[in-house]
């Protein structure tokens, strides 16, 4: 019958998919898709990003303020030369679930930026130091300037950690919701930033679909000075900026998981009580004639 051969086909496909993956990481095995889906027979094989350890993963995950502060430094000194972060305000840096800066620290960062404001009473636009309520300004006045400089517009970074991903493939994708794997975006960004492995070509990346990426290798060892003694390596920078981008994209993650645990415990207790009540009510039916039986004349 046609459905039998179909089943066989599908099974064969799944096995093919699984065996096509060529990576040592047990978690990454099973996907043969490229990170964001470059397709066709000519697409070059792309390595699967490896899963990293993140402080914000799992049901009790929290951001590490020191790491976010380092990531913020990497953003300000490296990424912000090209990338905007237009949805993050300076006040957000004070979030206790986030970078946890003091008001004075956040204000100092804001004041380091010039914000275009106006028009004033004379009808003139003017520049003033940033305030806590301002958002991170972009280094370029508009997209056209950036496009003229780079040939492409560097994407805004506010949501990047949620806007990037890679294919997990069958059957791992079915498992992911239950093992709470929600860090595909940061794993991809980390892999991308550490994937410039071709010394001759700064625009060649191991993990980018098609390998040719418009952004040349942005990080190098020692490029950013860390005050807290963390290693000044590309790996550490990549890790910190990825974590910072996750926070930028999902600033309510810690609150979400905190509330979520309470809600689920409440629901679990509630469900257990309902189950006991249900058993008790339905048990009446076993203890001789039920109400319904009694309502009936004997057959």
């Amino acid at each position: 019958m046609s459905h039998c051969s179909l089943f066989g086909r599908a099974l064969g496909l799944a096995i093919l998919l699984a065996s096509a993956a060529s990576t040592g990481s047990a978690f990454a095995a099973g996907a043969s898709e490229t990170p964001s889906g470059a397709q066709g027979p000519h697409a070059l094989a792309i390595d699967i990003p490896a899963r990293q350890v993140w402080s914000f993963a799992g049901p009790f995950g929290k951001y590490d303020p020191a790491q976010l502060q380092r990531g913020l430094k990497v953003y300000r000194e490296v990424c912000s030369n090209c990338h905007s972060l237009k949805m993050v305000a300076f006040r957000d840096l004070m979030s206790p679930d986030g970078p946890n800066l003091t008001e004075a620290e956040a204000r100092a960062i804001a004041e380091a930026y010039k914000i275009k404001d106006g028009p004033n009473d004379a009808g003139e636009m003017f520049e003033r130091p940033g305030r806590l309520s301002d958002y991170f300004p972009w280094a370029f006045p508009n997209e056209q300037t950036a496009r003229a400089a780079f040939g492409a517009v560097p994407p805004d970074m506010s949501l990047l950690a949620k806007a990037r991903t890679y294919e997990r493939g069958f059957p791992l994708f079915l498992l992911d919701p239950f093992i709470q794997y929600q860090e595909r975006g940061v794993d991809y960004i980390y892999a991308l930033l550490t994937g410039y492995t071709n010394d001759k070509d700064p625009n060649w990346d191991e993990y980018f679909p098609g390998h040719k990426i418009a952004m040349p290798n942005p990080l190098s060892d020692g490029a950013v000075d860390y005050a807290d003694g963390a290693p000044k390596t590309v790996q550490q920078y990549a890790k910190d900026i990825s974590a910072f981008l996750m926070w930028a994209a999902e600033p309510k993650l810690v609150e979400r998981k905190r509330i979520g645990f309470r809600v689920l415990v409440y629901l679990a207790v509630f469900a257990a009580l309902l189950y006991l009540v249900k058993r008790k009510i339905w048990a009446r039916l076993h203890n001789g004639a039920s109400e319904a039986h009694r309502a009936q004349p004997p057959a």
């Binding site: 046609s2 599908a10 994407p155 919701p177 309902l274 009936q296």
Partner: protein
């Protein structure tokens, strides 16, 4: 089967109201004393779960609408405003976005339960048809809602689906322009989609009332697929089914909460966190998971109008089930052949969904075509033939017999089986 009007108002206020509008009596006979078959299993709890999810979607949606801006230049930013600045905005948005998926999950379970136990057969055809109307309205509502965040997948999904109407001969282009309110998916489209997305759930709620009305005329079908013959076969809705539905709902909410709080973006598409850009087409345009089987059918036919016709037929054919299934036995529990074909059909639908999520190339094209053919063969060939050639197993005499065993009439004190398990 409607319950007898046994409601006696207890308070003076209730007596006053009841003599002017007998709504308390209606609720009493519908949801308190209403007789339900005693053998309903947990697959019958998804109707209640769906009612809850519809209400939850309306409540969270109304709150979101207070903070959302249906303008192509502002929509994406207004969603992020909800996520970042509105008090518990992230919670409302994640509940609403995942709630849509949970609604469809419950809806599909509810429908497959109907398929397995033959709930569409006489005298429940109208009940089934109203359910199909709810399904159609839900598909439309979820599609419109997915456009509102104005991400890349919102925009390109809307473009792909609305462009299907351009396949209509002669007037297709006019229809598409009329739908868009312009010459491309843009602010005018977004604005009307928002208006319709707010409207349709209330239409769904109205049809749900009709659906429950139509349910309460013949009463619920049940796992045995035979009609109740006496009071022994039924139990009052309250407390037996209120508590059972409540327990199932609580379990469902745990599952729903898991997604909302721990993996809120798992069911979404990463591309939808990139603002809509009419000049840049995503590498893959993939709809939400609940459309994937129909999307696979759409793509499996190498012609625009043919694909669109196949997709709409795949949805609408469900409405003809009561007349395509020729077997007089309702429940698959007593239909040995149908039972097998039911599960093959489930596998076919799941595989169609998987194929729909993959790029239309290589083996997936052939798989999609074969599965599409099987999908229609199931309805148009297998179901009509099965009823003619299948020899059903003997049915129990009564529902009570099916749960308690025939000896229960002699020994009512010793039930052999836990009812409803």
């Amino acid at each position: 089967m409607s319950g007898h009007p046994t409601y006696v108002p207890k308070s003076a206020a209730a007596r006053w109201l009841e003599s002017r509008l007998p709504i308390l009596g209606l609720l009493h006979s519908s949801f308190v004393v209403f007789p339900n078959p005693r053998n309903l299993n947990y697959w019958w709890t998804f109707g209640g779960i769906l009612s809850f999810m519809l209400a939850a979607q309306i409540v969270t949606g109304v709150v979101l609408a207070m903070h959302y801006t249906p303008d192509a230049r502002l929509a994406f930013a207004s969603i992020e405003h909800i996520m970042r600045d509105v008090n518990y905005g992230w919670l409302f948005r994640y509940m609403h976005a995942n709630g849509a998926s949970m609604f469809f999950l419950a809806l599909y379970i509810h429908m497959f339960r109907g398929l397995y136990y033959g709930s569409y057969k006489a005298p429940r055809e109208v009940l089934w048809l109203l359910g199909v109307v709810i399904f159609l309205l839900s598909i439309a509502t979820a599609f419109l809602g997915y456009v509102l965040p104005w991400g890349q997948m919102s925009f390109w999904g809307a473009t792909v689906i609305t462009s299907l109407f351009s396949a209509i001969p002669f007037v297709g282009d006019y229809v598409t322009t009329w739908l868009w309110g312009g010459y491309a998916v843009d602010s005018a489209t977004l604005n009307r989609f928002f208006a319709l997305h707010y409207l349709l759930p209330f239409m769904i709620a109205g049809v749900v009332v009709l659906h429950i009305w139509a349910l309460h005329v013949p009463g619920s079908n049940n796992p045995a697929g035979i009609e109740p013959k006496s009071g022994k076969d039924t139990l009052p809705f309250h407390p037996y089914f209120t508590v059972k539905d409540g327990f199932a709902l609580a379990c469902f909410l745990i599952f729903y909460g898991w997604f909302v709080f721990y993996v809120p973006n798992y069911l979404g598409d990463a591309d939808n966190y990139i603002e809509a850009n009419p000049l840049q087409t995503p590498v893959h345009i993939v709809p939400e998971w609940y459309y994937l089987p129909f999307y696979a059918i759409l793509r499996s036919i190498p012609s625009k109008i043919g694909g669109a016709a196949a997709m709409f037929s795949a949805v609408l054919i469900i409405a003809f089930l009561p007349w395509l299934d020729t077997s007089r036995v309702k429940s698959a529990a007593y239909r040995p052949l149908y039972r097998i074909f039911f599960w093959i059909f489930v596998a076919c639908a799941l595989l169609l969904g998987y194929v729909g999520s993959q790029p239309p190339e290589g083996g997936y094209v052939l798989a999609a075509r074969l599965l599409t053919i099987y999908y229609f063969v199931h309805f148009l060939v297998i179901l009509p033939l099965l009823g003619l050639i299948e020899r059903p197993q003997p049915l129990p005499a009564t529902i009570a017999d099916s749960v308690l065993g025939p000896q229960a009439q002699v020994l009512p004190a010793k039930a052999t089986q836990m009812p409803g398990q």
